[in-house]
Symmetry: D3
Subunit: 157 residues, 6 copies
């Protein structure tokens, strides 16, 4: 199955999978996320929660297409300490996306733009590009980031 992510679309066949975890070393969170992304998760995020007996637990959340449920379960059950998980149906609305190059004093930097009903509503410099430019040129990251945004804005108008 394949579709073009560049067009705005709604996907009605998504799941939010959740597991409450109160007995796992938090160091494991990051590698668990990595494995879930590698197995096809659209998004992985963690929410601090308070569990039974006031334990400061953490809730794993995975946003994924319904047909990848089993792949997610495989990772969650073998890589975390949970004895159970739950999932709920969800629909996802994703903006149209396009990438642009912006010229800066520190080289070209990619900007991801989002379109809602054909109109530009979001634009964000690729963070990795900005980090690399900042490191190579020994300048503050936020200066690069701001410059790219300002340049993009100017080129659009």
């Amino acid at each position: 199955m394949s579709f073009d992510h560049r067009d705005e679309h709604i996907d009605d066949d998504m799941l939010v999978i959740q597991a409450n975890i109160d007995d796992m070393n938090p160091e494991f969170c990051s590698p668990v996320s990595d494995r879930l992304f590698a197995a096809g998760a659209n998004d992985v995020y963690w929410i601090p929660i308070i569990m039974k007996k006031g334990r400061p637990g953490i809730m794993l959340n995975v946003l994924v297409q319904a047909d990848k449920l089993e792949a997610m379960e495989q990772v969650i059950f073998t890589e975390t300490t949970t004895l159970g998980l739950r999932y709920m149906r969800a629909s996802c609305h994703r903006l149209g996306r396009a990438f642009y190059n912006v010229e800066t004093p520190w080289g070209p930097i990619s900007v991801k733009a989002g379109f809602y009903k054909g109109e530009l509503v979001q634009y964000a410099p690729e963070f990795k590009d900005c980090e690399r430019a900042a490191q190579q040129h020994g300048i503050p990251l936020k200066r690069v980031y701001e410059e790219v945004r300002a340049q993009f804005l100017q080129q659009r108008s």
Copy 2:
């Protein structure tokens, strides 16, 4: 469409809309909430989360009637930085509500009461009224709040 919010009721046609945001200045949260309420949201709340690469993000949550989905999307896509959102079906059970006036040394103050199967289970002084009374009379807010609760309790029995 209109119905009387004073009666206890269940609304099966609600949505919880969510968007994970890791690249927005948090100052925007409050005006985004304002616009969502203005466009018809029943509730708006924010949950601190941990996103990809350990970024401290924030999850926007909107509780709203299903027929207002598009109005919410319009606000979320134009006022936040997200490139996508998701929504899940939900049912809401709301208590019957009534308002009472309670006389206090600092003037009348409104109390909102909640009824479950006809029985009074909640009562809360209107916070704005208490704040105004506290400010006008130069007394601690919590003293006003407590007094109103005690008066209401006494009048009921």
Copy 3:
């Protein structure tokens, strides 16, 4: 209705019940959880949230079988301060479970194990047993906990 929790199973008839609470003394959280568990909740947990006007609220979450909705509502409406709640359908996937006894220098301690498709994927010492052993013998809890895990691992291989 009754089924054997020792087998791995999926329960498609679950609800996640939620209520946002911004005007309740947090001391009440723990007794509210107790009452919900007593009335049949499978899990109860609390999520710190930010509500209208920037109030630091807390979201009550209850995971429960759909046929216990009313019992949960009874507790939530009479024991918390909320004027409404919402619920969403969820499916739960629970691992097969078995209990083992592990011999330690401080007496036998129970270990709960989880099985995914028949394979052992989780094992955790019963926390209460470890606490009791640590207290009786005046040794660090983590030492008991570790010892039990190591013993279990050794006996399995």
Copy 4:
């Protein structure tokens, strides 16, 4: 060393001890707190934090008299997984305290009151008393709690 906690006082010889923990099973938090209180801590609390590599850690905080530092360190180093801790000097200002009995339909309940410069500024029903009364009489805890507060308020005026 002993002094009367019933009088308002300032204690300039306090420490706040902190340890960032990102590799401990959160189940341990509660027994660690218990041991610290048993060893003389004035207060123990946990703060969710985000640590190196985006790990969702937790910061242990202990408020304690400076002469009990070593007793706290003994517990922290043997019962948690931390390899280090830090402490800062602090002064504590504690209100004068007194206890009152309030008669209720469910028996007498103790109320703790706080005095600032001789004036009553706080009063709170003993939570354990309220819980017991609520359980024995099968009534909502919040109803007991409110009744006690209202009674106390009435008796004072």
Copy 5:
């Protein structure tokens, strides 16, 4: 006592005042902050914490000059439910500050700039100005905010 906040400076005579609160209705947080600011606090912020018996509490933090300790205590003890507070010495390093006007299609908007050792390191549009412009002209707030930042950047270079 008065000094010019426009120059970069270090203030060695500051306090961080803290109070852990687990029995206060969170609605009170915002008015408590207002009163503390009105009484001279430099900053007020709240940290979600987990207290004794796993209660989800909240820690009040006040950053203030040492000579205003008593004014802060007056507010904290009369407006919150705490029976005690603590404070620690702190030094504050504040950047030099200046305000600029930036012309935009929606009128002039003020920008606050920060200087470290004489060099511009921060600049931020006044949020209130941006909100007003966005509301008056019916455009997204983030568009105003971005435009102002881009204009400021361009005028500087």
Copy 6:
């Protein structure tokens, strides 16, 4: 200046530097941490807080030797959006440390051990080693981690 980190020691000349940030894109947190560590910070961590007007901000915390204050300020003022910071004196107590090699079916893995008054109180597999072994051998990370802990425990006794 140099001393042997392998011995248990107390460092009385530490600072905790803090800055409350409510207008920074959270993507910046991770690179800011990297730069602070590169400039000599002992630890960097972030605490979710609620700031003025209910904004969900984040507090940057840096633990560092007092003589590196200026290097930290340079990074904080140029890489974050804050207009000010504060710092408090702290003492650090660090355990003695030693590294051991443990043989496993997946090759040798390093274990970091902590000593309090000469006694072993902590031991933790190097997380990076475990991750590498798990990836190379296609086995769950937690299995590697547990095996190493069990092996270390066995070799010690």
